[in-house]
């Protein structure tokens, strides 16, 4: 029997990708649970009792102030210690889309100084529009546990759907360090695999950054949605290629396997 892997998918009003995240983990041989922030705040549930934390996409609190801001503020005021502790154990933490925005607002990403200070933001898309499309991404996997099994330089395709995804580092220094450390694990590219402008880079991210892993490799934040393409048949161009596992599948399998290997 495999060790039971418990996944917390954090939710509050407006997060709305918990369903597909739940199913992706479920189909990766783990035991996901949708956990309302409220339950963590009032102590009914504890972050420490889970093996993996997933911040789903959506519009937490409507994204009214700024994407992810309200959820991050709530977590920072009551749960930050627990979350930092979780991260420091080396267990996997992942956020996609709104989840990425929350991770950045919490300064879990990029967290270059390990002091949890704000070094980046996800600004409104340059197009000033919500963008829903499939994008090409180049993998630069480094030590990111979620990307084990992908080849470096491999081009993958994932759906995006967001209006605030423009990765903006605090300054040139932060950007340089991210690149130097190989933390920019996913980059938007064109159909030839080159860093290109809009629409290939759908939001105007600095250096075409689509996803960032922390230096330790256990916290991943990305704008695209691997949980929506766990299976091949939900990829937008699946009718044009042979059957294979979905492009999102490895993200979840990797996290669950990693956990089983290391913990």
């Amino acid at each position: 029997m495999n060790r039971d892997v418990k996944v917390a998918i954090l939710t509050m009003e407006g997060t709305n990708n918990e369903e597909e995240a739940y199913l992706s983990f479920k189909h990766s041989d783990s035991s996901p649970e949708i956990v309302h922030l409220k339950k963590l705040e009032n102590g009914t549930k504890k972050l420490g009792s889970y093996d993996i934390i997933f911040f789903p996409g959506g519009f937490s609190a409507g994204d009214y102030v700024r994407a992810g801001a309200v959820m991050a503020a709530r977590i920072r005021s009551r749960l930050m210690k627990d979350l930092e502790k979780f991260v420091e154990t080396g267990k996997p933490v992942m956020g996609s889309c709104n989840g990425f925005q929350v991770l950045v607002e919490l300064a879990l990403i990029p967290n270059l100084t390990k002091e949890y200070e704000l070094e980046a933001a996800l600004a409104p898309n340059m197009s000033n529009r919500f963008e829903a499309r499939t994008v090409y991404l180049r993998v630069n996997r480094g030590n990111c546990l979620f990307l084990r099994g992908f080849r470096d330089g491999e081009i993958i395709k994932l759906p995006i759907a967001h209006s605030e995804g423009r990765f903006t580092p605090r300054d040139g220094n932060v950007l340089r360090k991210i690149i130097k450390n190989g933390m920019n694990v996913l980059s938007y590219v064109d159909d030839k695999g080159r860093l290109s402008g809009y629409p290939w880079n759908p939001n105007g991210s600095e250096h075409n950054i689509a996803g960032i892993c922390n230096r330790e490799g256990n916290v991943l934040g990305i704008m695209p949605h691997p949980e929506r393409v766990f299976y091949n048949v939900t990829e937008s161009d699946w009718t044009r290629h042979e059957w294979r596992p979905g492009m999102g599948y490895p993200f979840f399998m990797n996290a669950v396997q990693f956990l089983r290997e290391k913990f």
Partner: protein, 75 residues
């Protein structure tokens, strides 16, 4: 009772895509005298007690991300 007016804008160095799109729309409507548009959000926050200082805290804790935003409190 005080009403704070908190204005959150993007820093000058951060491209303001909404501002640009309003600029473009105004030009299309024929307003050639418009030179620049910057956009932002404004919150009117009514406090039973408290002061401008509270507003600063709201900026830090919730309303602005200092990496990209400026946050101004008026009362």
């Amino acid at each position: 009772m005080v009403v704070l007016r908190i204005t959150v804008t993007l820093k000058k160095a951060v491209e303001d895509s909404e501002g640009s799109s309003v600029l473009k729309a105004l030009r299309l409507l024929g307003y050639d005298n418009v030179r620049e548009v910057r956009s932002g959000k404004v919150y009117f926050i009514t406090l039973t007690k408290g002061s401008k200082k509270a507003g600063k805290e709201f900026c830090e804790k919730l309303l602005a991300n200092p990496v990209i935003n400026e946050c101004v409190v008026d009362d």
